[in-house]
Amino acid sequence: MEKIITKNLNLWYGDFQALKNVNSGFKANKITAIIGPSGCGKSTLLRVFNRMNDLIEGVKMNGEILVEGENILNPDIDLVNLRKKVGMVFQRPNPFPLSIYENIVFGEKIHGDNIKKDKLYDIVEESLKSVLLWDELKDRLNKSAMKLSLEQKQRLCIARLIAVKSDILLMDEPCSALDPQSTARIEELMRELKNNYTIIIVTHNMQQAARVSDNTGFMLFGELVEFRDTHEIFTAPSDKRTEDYITGRYG
């Protein structure tokens, strides 16, 4: 089943067209990687799925983006619900300068009305367990999240999404600030999470895409050139441009 489908999606920043006629389908409970050279529109594509591009002045879009069957380009769409459902992990781990506990309940506090304290605590425990941080952090939930290591911070940011019950996770180069060991552990976590979540990851790192993803899309100058099973795309690319990129002939 496809969680997100784009049909003839175009996007302009002012006069500059950053996405050209993108047709894609992102499968539920799979990890889809988006690769491509710098500036090809990977982040732009990711940010249309939770309408974060709305924050930028002069953005125009047309086409269709169906998230669980609903066209999110529809002006009446409930952005709050969309953003709860489609969560985003950023390149730089960015917890709020609050305690670990407060970071996780932030979404709940914003959206929920009067949730009981022990219910909140359960949410914190559950979310931290799903990112494998509970044992490390359970004794210092009231310490500032800014003191955590980069990897812990990034896990915390994922936990923060799990707490608002996102079921689609958009990850924009989530490991680029991390060392190789931390990266490997986050990838392990992603494999774990895909049982319950649909994950789309943008990465510069082709090995990472090959290691972790089920499907891969290759983008170039705003076009989605090829979008297929990861194993196939890396072993037998059907487009010349994809082949050039994965064999290292592009920057």
Binding site: V80, F90, N94, F96, P97, F106, G107, I110, M146
Partner: protein, 283 residues
């Protein structure tokens, strides 16, 4: 001749030191002299009694109370309005020439001489709104005077909160207002406090804005409502220094000491609050 980097450095240090001393020495001298000459005047009677014998004896209690009322009134008026204006300017207004001119104008308003604010307050609050010379008129005038300081420093504090916090908050489904309320404002509080302190200090010390709007030359009883006139420390100091002959130096310096102590105390309180916040929030 080849330049000796070591010597150049020493010369530079020398000038930097001199510049620093040029600031520190006069300020310390003022403080030392005021303490030396003013402290002997301070006793319970001086702080709690009304002025007597044509202000040549007794205390300064009504002036202390008046100044506290005026400063409090000014903050009650200026902080909410200034903060809302700062939030609008930093979070909602688009970056276009008109808004840039508005921001620049506000910065420059902070430099307008205080006597101009005094005349403005006289025309608007005392005469036009018919509040008369009263605590209300004086507070509003002082409030308007410190608004630019509060707006500018608050705006800078809001703008220094990293953009990424706003993005994350919005991406978690928070509305713009929720983001400001829960993420931006709490992180800007130290900076906003700084602006408020600067404003407080200025409001407590200025004479010109209260001259025509509230200050009483001699008013031994305390004000009963915001429509009463009041004495105020800076104006009282001016009066006993220039308008009343033969006032003991001790009383003049004592008054100056109290004014200085009041301002320093307010600063201290705010610095402590700020320090506590700093320790808690770090990014």
């Amino acid at each position: 001749m080849k330049r000796n980097p070591h010597r150049t450095q020493n010369i530079a240090f020398f000038f930097l030191l001199v510049a620093m001393l040029l600031i520190v020495v006069p300020v310390s001298l003022i403080v030392v002299i005021i303490i030396q000459k003013g402290l002997p005047a301070i006793n319970w009677q001086f702080l709690s009694d009304v002025p007597r014998q044509g202000m040549r004896a007794g205390g300064i209690f009504p002036a202390i109370v008046g100044t506290i009322y005026l400063v409090t009134g000014a903050i009650i008026f200026a902080l909410p309005i200034g903060l809302l204006a700062a939030i609008y300017l930093s979070e909602y207004s688009k970056d276009n020439p008109l808004n840039r001119i508005i921001k620049l104008a506000i910065v420059n308003l902070a430099g307008v001489p205080s006597v101009v604010y005094g005349l403005f307050g006289l025309a608007l609050f005392v005469v036009f709104f018919k509040f008369g010379a009263s605590i209300l008129s004086g507070s509003l005038t002082l409030g308007i005077m410190i608004l630019p300081i509060i707006i500018t420093t608050s705006r800078e504090a809001l703008e220094s909160v990293p953009q990424s916090f706003r993005e994350v908050s919005l991406s978690l489904g928070a509305s713009k207002w929720q983001t400001i309320r829960h993420i931006v404002l709490p992180n800007a509080i130290p900076g906003i406090l700084t602006g408020t302190i600067l404003g407080l200090g200025r409001a407590a010390g200025e004479t010109a804005p209260i001259l025509f709007t509230v200050a009483a030359f001699y008013l031994p009883q305390l004000p009963k409502s915001i429509f009463d006139q009041a004495m105020a420390l800076p104006y009282h100091l001016y009066v006993i220094s220039t308008q009343v002959p033969n006032v003991d130096e001790k009383i003049r310096y004592g008054t100056a000491f109290v004014l200085l102590a009041l301002v320093l105390f307010m600063n201290l309180v705010a610095i402590i609050i700020r320090y506590k916040f700093r320790k808690k929030k770090k990014w």
